[in-house]
């Protein structure tokens, strides 16, 4: 085993452990956005697509590199945009809502819940 491969393997194993450690703390509320965010992160394969597109000089190579670039860009752009769209919906209770909600209460609310 070369030192370079050993270093790669060490990084791989440690990154796995970091991934487990970071994810275990995320509340269930955020699992769907999290899955989408993780999905976007593996869009890093776009860097791989760029590296191999630079290394190829044959027609089959170009064709496959083109499809790889399309897929990878779809993954990375779509993944981040949809994650952001989801997370943009998580907002705190609007402050203005409270006084409006309090107004029409008085009449019926004094009745004890009979259910």
């Amino acid at each position: 085993m070369t030192p370079a491969l050993f270093a790669d393997l060490a990084v791989f194993v440690l990154a796995l452990l970091v991934g487990i450690e970071v994810i275990s703390k995320v509340p269930a509320t955020l699992h769907t956005p999290l899955m989408s965010a993780a999905n976007a992160i593996h869009g890093i394969v776009v860097v791989g697509a760029m590296i191999v597109a630079a290394a190829t000089d044959t027609v089959p190579g170009y064709i496959l590199a083109f499809v790889a670039a399309v897929f990878a860009a779809m993954n990375v752009v779509g993944g981040y945009v949809v994650t952001d769209r989801m997370l943009g919906m998580f907002r705190q209770r609007p402050v203005a809502k409270a006084p409006v909600a309090a107004a029409p209460v008085a009449a019926t609310d004094s009745v004890e819940a009979g259910a």
Partner: protein, 472 residues
């Protein structure tokens, strides 16, 4: 290593660190969006750095630039369009499709790298061969598997477990082809045709792996395939000797793995049982009103329920799969807002697996403008339910079944929402049909439970109308 290389390596390291930090910020709804944006910014920096590296190396041909640029633009535009236009209820299948794209890209990257290798795969070093094999095999399984999974969730592929005669045998043969091909290449024989054969067999395996799994289990499968893609990307990183691919891929592999386990745990199902398939039903519950156990069931009318809700002080709403399937979250929130305007305290009890995947219900409610402070997780909800006047269950079943507390029940041990501890229980449901676990729900025979048989959307609209009549 010269100065330029040192700088680019340090930038890639910072990119990987930002991915970790971005995931870390997703610990809380308040910082989650910042986390995703940090991650996206890191991705942009990584891509720009790669452009700089390629430009400086002067290796890419003019055709290569054209191919790459057009591919990235087209893919990016399609991804952007899909992400912008998707409905939130269709989120799981979109994630699955993007995941398929990632797996496909990882596979193709390995192929292009081998094509560019002088002498082909037989002259590559053993690290590259092993990494390429794993990348191609895993990437192909996630590509076809994710497409089938998305098709099942979208209703294009039937949601029921599809098992044809000999399907297990086909899976085994395909797996054997992959293994035999791998051995051939590892011993220095074969070549590109063998790698293609492995890819085709792995594509077939992805299909036969997902087809027998029921639609309700699909979220777990998507999460698993998401983890697979991460590992495939990490393998592409080994083949290309790219640390940023290895780090990011491993991160996703681990996170997807943990998520998969959390989901399976929340459903009280083992991953093995899910993968063996044959369990779980299609999306649409069918069946007439049939009290299977024969015990009495009390039916309520929309007016009854509206009165009960209006006179309650504290209402806990339990939304479930049926709500998501009927896309009735806006009707639910309209009802809740009317109640709040009337002075009733309303909160939402969200079981970890409510909706179509963990956290999906939170997203659906957030889309309908529910603040996340009004959403209770399992523990918070179970602390609140005993002091609630009404638990209103909309389209949820198994997660409210008290049978889960009794040893010997098939769902014993599954965490449930203690709705039976509320003063009264109201259930909106299409029929007495069974939930995902195929069990009778004892809750429905409880004397304090009122059943309102209706589609979630129509039922909630009827309740809102009845409430409006009443509170005027």
């Amino acid at each position: 290593m010269n100065g330029f290389d040192s700088v680019t390596h340090l930038i890639y390291l910072a990119v990987a660190a930002c991915f970790v930090l971005g995931l870390h910020f997703m610990n809380s709804p308040a910082t989650a969006r910042r986390g995703s944006q940090l991650s996206a910014a890191a991705m942009t920096v990584g891509i720009v750095t790669t452009i700089a590296v390629l430009a400086k190396a002067h290796v890419i041909t003019g055709t290569g630039v054209a191919v790459l640029a057009s591919g990235l633009l087209i893919g990016g535009a399609v991804g952007l369009w899909m992400a912008r236009t998707v409905q939130m209820t269709q989120m799981p299948q979109l994630v699955s499709l993007f995941n398929a794209a990632g797996g496909g890209a990882a596979t193709l990257v390995a192929f292009v790298a081998i094509l560019a290798e002088p002498g082909g795969i037989n002259h590559a070093n053993s690290t590259v061969v092993v990494a390429t094999l794993l990348d191609v095999a895993i990437g192909c399984v996630t590509f076809s598997g994710s497409i089938i999974a998305a098709g099942k969730l979208h209703g294009v592929v039937p949601g029921q477990p599809l098992i044809f005669k000999g399907s297990r045998a086909v899976s085994i043969v395909l797996a054997l082809v992959v293994v035999a091909g791998a051995i051939t290449l590892l011993t220095g024989h074969g070549g590109m045709p063998v790698l293609v054969a492995i890819a085709v067999a792995a594509l077939g395996f992805g299909v036969t792996m997902v087809l027998p799994i029921g639609g309700a289990d699909m979220p777990v499968v998507i999460s698993l395939l998401n983890a697979f893609t991460g590992i495939a990307v990490a393998m592409a990183g080994f083949a290309l000797d790219s640390l940023v691919l290895i780090t990011a891929g491993a991160l996703v592999g681990a996170s997807g793995g943990i998520l998969t386990k959390l989901m399976a745990d929340a459903m009280n199902r083992s991953l093995m049982a899910i993968m063996l398939g044959g369990f779980g039903t299609s999306d649409t519950a069918v069946g007439a009103v049939t009290a299977a156990s024969g015990a009495p069931v009390r039916q309520s009318s929309a007016d009854d329920i509206a009165i009960q809700l209006a006179y309650a002080e504290r209402v806990v709403i339990v939304p479930g799969y049926g709500l998501a399937a009927a896309q009735a979250q806006h009707e639910l929130v309209a009802l809740a807002n009317a109640l709040e305007a009337h002075g009733v305290s309303v909160s939402y009890a969200i079981h970890p697996v409510a909706g179509r995947m963990p956290g999906h219900m939170n997203v659906l409610l957030a889309e309908a403008n529910v603040s996340y402070e009004a959403m209770r997780d399992l523990d918070e909800a179970n602390a609140e339910l005993p002091i609630a006047d009404v638990a209103l269950i909309v389209g949820a079943n198994d997660v409210t079944n008290p049978a889960a507390r009794r040893p010997g029940s098939p769902i014993f041990g599954m965490p449930i929402l203690d709705v039976d501890k509320a003063r009264s229980v109201l259930v909106i449901k299409r029929s007495m049909g069974h939930g995902y676990a195929g069990l009778d729900n004892e809750l429905y025979n409880d004397p304090k439970t009122g059943m309102f048989f209706a589609d979630a959307k129509a039922g909630l609209a009827a309740l809102s109308a009845a409430l409006k009549e009443y509170v005027h």
